[in-house]
């Protein structure tokens, strides 16, 4: 019995340690659930200060990850960046922390610094979805649409990520920019099927129109507007397409709808002027173009276009 005593003590201590580990895991699981529910402030409060240092070593990388993500999603990019830089020094081989550091740098607009981290991660783990996603966004912003497309595809080939409507929307938009219209329609239909939003419906409408399906395009534009009647851009987009399709009645009514809430809206004025122009109502067209031309600083392109059209109307090209 005496011989067994030390073994029992070790076993009991071991059980205690396992119990504590399980308890910490459960605590972090609960915090993950809170983060997923958008309760970032409470996650930040639970893990701030010296809390992470009091945790057992095995749990610290995960705690850094949770705290950093919550800081980032709470808009505290500076603090998140500091935390992840510290964590990267402590755990340089932890891919999740490296990915988050790269992601924070990317969201802070420091793409030149984010890119080497993403590349480092993808060298070790080419299928790392978060890194593929981050670098796809960077390539997109820099105009490298071929590389962007490739990395979006790698992102969406990962389980879980293929259920993210926003990533399908971004991927579809890249395809649309590349003028891969058929593929864009497929990707955007997927985005809409996962989550019907004004943005995804409008993007799908654009892709359908580019692909030549005008009826479907207007149907989706209408759906986008019904979903969010406050979205003026959806309404004006519809109006411009009505003009393009020479449905002058509809285009005029759409312009009128916008002008009923903002009588000097430059694009609505331009739209109505274009309808007048096509009908040969040159005086009314001039009156609207004068207002559109005064758009000035806020909408310089509309102002310049309206001014150029006015000059033509006055016979001074």
């Amino acid at each position: 019995m005496r011989r067994l005593t030390p073994i029992l003590v070790v076993l009991l201590a071991g059980c205690g340690s396992i119990g504590r580990r399980a308890e910490i895991r459960l605590r972090l699981d609960n915090l993950s659930a809170e983060a997923a529910a958008g309760k970032h402030v409470s996650v930040i409060a639970a893990l701030s200060g010296d809390t992470i240092h009091t945790l057992q070593k095995f749990a610290r990388p995960r705690a850094y990850l949770l705290l950093g993500q919550s800081l980032r999603l709470n808009g505290e990019l500076g603090k998140a960046l500091q935390l992840f830089q510290l964590a990267e020094g402590l755990y340089p081989k932890n891919l999740s922390l490296l990915t988050e550091l790269a992601s924070v740098l990317h969201h802070a607009g420091l793409d030149d610094r984010a890119r080497p981290y993403y590349r480092r991660i993808l060298k070790i783990h080419p299928n790392n979805a978060a890194s593929n996603h981050g670098i796809a966004e960077i390539f997109r912003s820099e105009g490298n649409l071929t590389a962007s497309k490739l990395h979006y595809e790698r992102t969406l080939s990962e389980m879980g990520w293929d259920q993210n409507a926003l990533i399908w929307l971004d991927y579809g938009s890249v395809l649309l920019e590349r003028r891969d219209f058929k593929e864009a329609v497929t990707a955007l239909e997927r985005s809409v099927s996962l989550s019907k939003t004004t943005n995804s419906l409008l993007a799908l409408a654009r892709a359908k129109r580019a692909f030549g399906d005008k009826a479907e395009s207007r149907k989706h534009a209408n759906a986008a507007f019904r979903l969010d009647p406050e979205r003026e851009d959806a309404l004006l987009q519809r109006g411009l397409w009505e003009l393009e399709d020479m449905d002058l009645e509809a285009a005029s009514a759409t312009a009128q709808l916008v002008l009923s809430t903002e009588s000097d809206h430059p694009l609505a004025r331009w739209l109505r002027a274009s309808v007048h122009l096509r009908r040969g109502e040159l005086e009314q067209a001039s009156a609207d173009l004068v207002v559109a031309a005064a758009a000035g600083r806020k909408n310089p392109f509309i102002a310049k276009t309206a001014r150029a059209m006015l000059e033509r109307l006055m016979g001074n090209p």
């Binding site: 993950s32 978060a130 990520w161 259920q163 920019e177 851009d233 411009l240 393009e244 276009t305």
Partner: protein
């Protein structure tokens, strides 16, 4: 496990409300209409590609972005590296193939450069040969003539005997492009059409005039000048390149003014021979083009308004 990954996916992406501005909506609307106009109804677009050795690879990135955006390019003109890239583009190279050519560029691509020949150049005054460039072009484009290209193309060289600017726009393509990229002092002058020809960068760094000669009415120039302001050359080649750069910069002041829109990739600090940075150079070209694409579209749409106007006004 799947739930955890999905959760991470959701955490990583944040909702974005991308409302399009009225300016952006009108730009898209008019851009689609401009794209449907035939050349003649809209101004013919001339893409002008400057000289610039390795820095000129940035043109590949610029072309890539313009191509993705569906920018109509009717005419191409180039000098030196701009002539090489321009000939590939006019010859119908795909974007991927051009990128691959740029990425594989080496110091001895298109010439017989080697350390032994370089020593020979310095000690015995034996100039190198750029003849392999003709083979490279013929391999890629198949021994074509200017009139067999997909787009009208012109390139520029200089007659080393008279100092004349020679604009090539007909005849066999490869010797003309080779002459355009034939750096004086390093490569033997090319004997072609009874003239001894060297790099056109010495007389026409940004060949806007060549594009206009081919009928371009709106010029988009990609300029990849070197930034020599803080550099002191330490060898013969560096000094020679810097002299060409300085002369090019002086020449290009007027040519820049003649272009309707400029894209200037930030490649000035990249050495003319640094092929190890070719991918970076192409990416810099893309970034510059992406940044300036909207401005280029605005400018071109406004110039195309007369063509659109005829569609808008009711028939009398």
């Amino acid at each position: 496990m799947i739930r955890i990954v999905a959760l991470l996916a959701l955490l990583t992406t944040t909702a974005r409300a991308e409302m399009q501005s009225p300016d952006a909506l009108l730009r898209d609307h008019l851009w689609r209409q401009v794209q449907t106009l035939e050349p003649g109804q809209r101004p013919r677009v001339g893409l002008v590609l400057s000289a610039g050795s390795v820095r000129g690879l940035a043109h590949i990135g610029v072309i890539h972005v313009l191509h993705d955006a569906g920018f109509p390019i009717d005419i191409v003109a180039g000098t030196s590296m701009g002539a090489v890239i321009g000939s590939f583009f006019s010859g119908g190279y795909s974007m991927e193939k051009m990128w691959s050519v740029g990425a594989k560029m080496r110091m001895n691509s298109g010439n017989n450069f080697s350390k032994i020949r370089l020593i020979s150049l310095i000690l015995n005054d034996q100039l190198l040969s750029s003849a392999p460039l003709e083979k490279l072009l013929n391999d890629g484009l198949g021994d074509r003539r200017f009139d067999q290209l997909d787009k009208p193309f012109a390139c520029v060289a200089m007659d080393i005997s008279t100092g004349e600017k020679i604009i090539f726009r007909d005849g066999p393509l490869a010797p003309a492009v080779r002459a355009s990229m034939n750096m004086p002092g390093i490569f033997k002058p090319v004997l072609y059409r009874h003239r001894y020809l060297v790099d056109g960068g010495v007389v026409d760094y940004v060949p806007v005039d060549a594009a206009k000669l081919l009928g371009a009415e709106w010029i988009l120039a990609s300029v990849t000048e070197g930034d020599y302001s803080n550099d002191t050359p330490t060898n013969v080649l560096g000094a020679l390149e810097q002299v060409i750069d300085i002369r090019g910069a002086i020449l290009s002041r007027q040519q820049r003014r003649e272009a309707d829109y400029l894209i200037e990739p930030e490649v000035g600090k990249i050495a003319y021979y640094d092929v190890s940075r070719s991918v970076e150079v192409m990416e810099r070209g893309m970034r510059a083009a992406r940044k300036q694409l909207q401005g280029a579209k605005d400018n071109y749409i406004l110039r195309s308004l007369p063509g659109l106007w005829s569609h808008w006004k009711p028939k009398q």
